[in-house]
Symmetry: C2
Subunit: 252 residues, 2 copies
């Protein structure tokens, strides 16, 4: 298995190879119900091990890039999208997670606005899957996706990340649909509204969305955060500083 001539003690501390992977979430209308559901892109493995299986997008860490940058590169290479939200998830390093070679994977998770182009951008080796009921993936990637889902739901209940699934203007109903899709439960529209009035980081605009067969809903936007915000909820580190990127197409 180890073919080089190094002795045991030298070999013992040969660094394991390091990989960066990214779990990318987006919302897409369900084929059946039309309601938004969670999807994520996977790439087909073109070499052993697990050749032919689907896996999280990832790759090695370039010497000149930070961890987030590497994850952002993953993201862009597989989805052609800029990340709306990008945060470190966890570092996976069980000894046997890859056969033969020892691999430590630093995994990030991201939220993107699906819509438009990117979703159509499926090639033979990149495909979007529904986040629930995934088939068997390469390595321990099922476990990783499960954990990312857990974290997403957890963060959704406290933090303010739902916005990143949406454009820069949205109605409360749209925002509520995001919560409902991710948490997989219905929320009372009235109570939902009340809670968001208390949220400091959401702001009503004086625009309304026309075109529905009902009273036109007011459009809201994510508050352009005044300056440095304290860490709330279960936020993860770099998140507060350089880990998060907001994609704002800056006003309309």
């Amino acid at each position: 298995m180890y073919t080089n001539a190094a002795n045991v003690t030298e070999r013992q501390f040969v660094p394991p190879s390091l990989a960066i992977s990214t779990v990318i979430f987006a919302l897409r209308p369900s084929v059946t119900s039309g309601r938004p559901t969670l999807w994520l892109p996977l790439v087909r493995r073109i070499r052993q091990p697990y050749r032919g299986k689907w896996a999280l997008p990832g790759g090695p860490l370039a010497r000149s890039e930070s961890l987030v940058e590497a994850a952002g590169r993953n993201l862009k290479e597989t989805t052609q999208l800029e990340p709306g939200y990008l945060e470190q998830l966890y570092c996976f390093g069980a000894v046997d997670r890859s056969p033969a070679e020892r691999v430590v994977s630093i995994v990030y998770w991201a939220l993107v606005q699906a819509e438009a182009a990117a979703m159509a951008e499926e090639t033979d080796n990149v495909r979007w899957f529904r986040a629930d009921g995934l088939e068997e993936l390469a390595f321990d990637h099922n476990e990783i996706v499960e954990y990312a889902l857990w974290r997403l739901r957890n963060k959704m209940e406290y933090g303010s990340i739902a916005y990143h699934f949406l454009g820069d203007r949205f109605t409360l109903a749209q925002l509520r649909e995001v919560y409902e899709a991710v948490l997989d439960k219905r929320l009372d529209p009235a109570n939902f509204r009340r809670q968001l009035r208390g949220a400091r980081d959401i702001e009503p605009t004086d625009e309304y969305l026309q075109g529905g067969r009902h009273r036109p809903p007011r459009l809201y936007r994510y508050r352009p955060e005044p300056a440095a915000a304290a860490g709330s909820g279960g936020a993860d580190h770099q998140t507060q500083s350089n880990g998060v990127k907001h994609v704002r197409s800056d006003q309309h």
Copy 2:
């Protein structure tokens, strides 16, 4: 800086070296007030870079050990203690966090029961420091400790980790002192009691602590958790399964 003969593209993907470090917290009575305060052990660097500076205990990852195991080894080597609680904190990988060499550090954090032997076990190169107001440490270790503190406090408010600072029997007052020390604010004893009655994982025994100049308080214990517990609060991954070790000196 890079002296080997590899060409640029090869060099670009030479894996960075990987290190495991551990932030170890324990409570120790303040020298002045006698109330418990947070302490952590640091080791003095005996080589460049940052020679002579204090740093988090850490080292390379052996090929045969998982990440948690490596962190547990750190812990044992520096404190001679078994971890009461051990969880992954974050993975730090900024390009310039170490001069010259690129190092990615996977950092764990641990809680131990100070007491007894271990605290005395200070050598010339291992010393315990108060967690607040640390001097300037090697690398980005100040930042790491700050983040670990943030996470500790955060987890303390939701999860059930305070127990790990204490022995297997404790009074509510002792437990409250732990909270007060970590969160750095006073808590109402009556309300504290009420909240813990609701907590599923703390159990009254029928023993009482004698010897105070007041009514003897009942002793409680951490519930020997029946089986698999769902992940609460902002728990981190492996935490729920193999990441956590409970040290129980099993009854008295």
